[in-house]
Subunit: 329 residues, 4 copies
């Protein structure tokens, strides 16, 4: 079976997914839609696919699945439309910034029995996936404490902050999903501290740039998340899981792994500059998993519900900061 794709949104991440589809022998990119004509043209030219409108893709008989890479505020509407149109749907996170809206949207997905996968790409990173596999293989016994360090290389521009929903919904949300992926159990309590240390403008916009979060599960497992909007040494992405029989960790990845030694010491180059290069393999594996789910009829994961729970955790973290207390879910 060849899965035939329509791509909604030809921006940066759209291109990443287009390439993943193209290089997958089980898939074909049929058409792309983008409000910016030039972006659609460029992508169509590079990958040899049609340019169509979203309406045309919705009605197309030669398209089985869509990848939604449009702006966040269009996600829920598009998911509903394409669920009703009977297409399999891959949607970049988040479904929406509002929990209620996400719940409505997922109700439509349930009703229509549409296949929906949400883009938590990090689950598909080979190193993080290997951490999870080590846990599943019993290498560390029962999971007890998870540590996630996640720092962006630099703060985003003000207009991004405004549309982002805030650091918890935009950035920590990936770590909330990773926490659930590694804990193997849902958090029932959240506490967060947050401050503005990187860029005053972020504070003026009502957001934070440095946060620490603790999650606990019903059985007492704990997860600590540390986020900053700036790391001078690159895109800092580490996980560590401590269990009853041992510990497993995935260190940072580097584009080049040489070491230069001199009188100043031993120096390795900085980390990847951001997610596009750090998670190249993760993006390819993610789309491959989606294609595989469609081809085999298996349930696509992470699901819409995974997206919803991560968002609810983000909301709880924000409440915890505002109210100065642990929020029980």
């Amino acid at each position: 079976m060849t899965v035939r794709f329509g791509l909604l949104g030809a921006g940066r991440i759209g291109k990443v997914h287009a390439k993943a589809v193209m290089s997958n022998p089980q898939a074909k990119l049929v058409a792309v839609a983008d409000a910016f004509e030039q972006a659609a043209k460029d992508l169509a030219g590079a990958y040899g696919c049609d340019i169509r409108t979203i309406d045309e893709i919705e009605k197309a008989g030669d398209i089985d699945a869509v990848i939604i890479c449009t702006p966040t505020d269009t996600h829920a509407d598009l998911i509903e439309r394409f669920a009703r149109a009977g297409k399999a749907i891959f949607c970049e996170k988040p479904i929406d910034l509002n929990v209620k809206r996400v719940e409505e949207c997922l109700a439509v997905v349930d009703e229509t029995k549409a296949a929906l996968m949400v883009g938590f790409n990090r689950r598909f990173d080979p190193h993080f996936a290997a951490v999870r596999k080590a846990i599943d293989d019993g290498a560390i016994g029962t999971v007890e404490m998870v540590t996630i360090t996640s720092r962006d290389p630099g703060a985003p521009p003000a207009d991004y902050i405004t549309r982002s929903g805030g650091i918890f919904r935009d950035m920590t949300i990936h770590d909330f999903d990773m926490a659930r992926f590694l804990l193997g159990e849902d958090p029932v309590a959240v506490t967060a501290h947050a401050s503005v240390l990187v860029d005053k403008k972020i504070g003026e916009l009502g957001d934070y740039d440095s946060v620490s979060v603790i999650l606990s599960t019903a059985s007492g497992k704990q997860c600590v998340i540390s986020n900053s909007r700036r790391a001078t040494y690159g895109y800092d992405q580490r996980i560590e899981v401590h269990g009853s029989k041992g510990m497993v960790a995935a260190e940072n990845q580097r584009p080049v792994s040489i070491e230069v030694a001199n009188g100043n010491g031993y120096t390795r180059p900085p980390l990847h500059d951001f997610f596009m290069t750090r998670y190249t393999e993760a993006y390819a594996n993610e789309i491959a998993a989606f294609i595989d789910a469609i081809a085999t009829g298996a349930k696509a994961a992470p699901s819409g519900k995974d997206g919803l729970i991560a968002l609810a955790l983000a909301d709880a973290a924000l409440r915890s900061v505002k109210e100065g207390k642990t929020i029980n879910l």
Copy 2:
């Protein structure tokens, strides 16, 4: 000047300090006191010093300073006695498990102008001290987020737990001091999550064995502490400080640093088995710093107040767990 010492308590840690005094060219071990006669005899035999009673040491004209390594519930009384006797005092942490009692004791120390140093040995570890020096040298700009991972190799016996004052006052207290040492600013808010994952008996005694803590300072700096009473791979002691211009970290130390590679991969031996071997240099440096302070008349640090603040943070962390909220100090 040669500083002449009396040692109160000839147990495990007493021996460590005796050795540090002996190998320091500026110091001399004059006498040891211990309720267990054999312990005192063994130490006196090994290091060639007198055996005396605490009373005798208190009145001795040939002793300038004492090292208090007796049980915790005797610390405050002994500090008061020796402060009044005009001796310089090094006391193992904690001064007492009760904040009020510590405050009374420190009032006597102030009154008598006694020199008092509290045994937070980790500040004197060469690697942790180098982290602090890197911060002081401006290598990472302004400190923003501190991460402390501190895990014991195995849970202590029930009777130790009973006398310990609980994990926050016994174990995390070292990390609270390290947090202050690295943040360069006092925490004003504490949140903690705690659970029993390692040993049910610990829970039955009303204590916890796995805790996560967030501290925040007035300027918004954050510190995350992760503690467990058990780590199968050894005594896990790591610190990391993230700042505006960079990051500095001290990794775990190993007694032997070989690596064996075969079909199973690349394996390095486990970490040190506990604090006695991990912090050998720290203990020697700590006593050297105390001797130096006495010899030069400088103020000994960490001070009694440092001990008090760390204890207050431990109390706040426990309250945070019990009340499910952030405790403001």
Copy 3:
């Protein structure tokens, strides 16, 4: 400009190069030839190109360049034919196992002014290339001593050994080229020790499986090469360059870089299993460099002469073992 390719040989390495051509926007795979019909069909099916005979490719007006991945004993003949046919040529190493034959072949290449690149893929590994760049950037001053460790995961079968030309011409040849790449100066003296430690059959076939080599240049630079046909921990590929101002090294690469810690210590997974996965990026970069050279008219490197010199070093190393002396070139 789009470079149009014919591929000679559809085996394991042929597929690697076909994929590299396909994914390069400046290139197109027009046709494949292989004596085994099924191999040609499979590759043509996967990449959508023609199946043609070598004769047809030689005469084709729609083909600019060929990639030679046929058995070693056909390389020199094919290079001569395609040089005369005016095609640009990429040939897997070695050109031939016989220095004389290589010289004759390169005379034809010179005469016809054909573009010829020889497949020393390791120069294009991003990590090794970064080592070279660090040298070029002056990071270590003048190069003095190069250390190359190169070990295969397991010994090849007997029939491969028979056709290989021996370990120096088959395996060490890559290290001879890497030595020249890093030394920046040609070796003038070679000494080698060789023995059979891995597999007696290799000795019965007159070959060795464990060799150590020293190279020296006219200015006194030295290079040490260590080879084994078996490493239980994977495909061991390391380089280190010591210079007047510092040292630069490229460590081994791993497919997955997690670490598991328990009572046995800290374990990272084994290395890549062999060159196909270890040098994936190197193969893609190599063909990209060839395409770039054709497109821009620049001289392709490594050249035929680079192939010849590496072969001459292999011959000298073998003579050194046989004669028990340093061979001056």
Copy 4:
């Protein structure tokens, strides 16, 4: 039993050994002798021992063993004198720079049945000893290829070079002993390349500063040694042993093991600055082993014969360079 020591030579290394004796509960430093009165006084003052002449120590009834740290050209004579005087002897390497003289000296040692240990301190480094233990425990199967990298931080002054016997007898000799320690079999063939890359003056004195050596044993095991008189990043001391079932390596040691990350990358401080700090534990363990051998009557190792063989390998390496051939022993 307490072993009573006389120390011959109160220089830098004499002090190291004096401290090792002092801190060993089974030993006592009775007297020191040194041609420079002040050096003897300083050491005697610091460690509370007598100052005596060599003659007095030779005849002393209260001295069981001597440690010879005088200039190299006095070693053989002193060994003979103290062997005849019935003392146990620890002598810094080398016994003499001339193989014949060493053989004569060892004949006296044999005749008198004196206990003699030669100071190849590196065997007692805990990391290198752990490598050897891993081999003995079967962790890597049969030893096949040993790699030793040994680089001094900086070239010694001209007058040291003049008295040193040349790089092979002065510096590589430690690696020859380490090679034998790790190979578990004596080398039968030696090839060396040598050049002057660090300091022209060294060449003018007829010596080399950069050498590469290959050793082979009768069973075909190989060892590669790489030496330089200068490493900008500190005292570079690494060993690696490749065997039939795996590999074991000991990496460099650092006085402080922090890592600082910023826009330039991740930097660890340089290595130890030289042998005094790098091999602190090795020196203490070495004297402890000597004391242990005397106390238990066991044979002291490394023996005089170990010293002789290492020297013979150094001579062979030099001949190999001069004659351009492999020297068979």
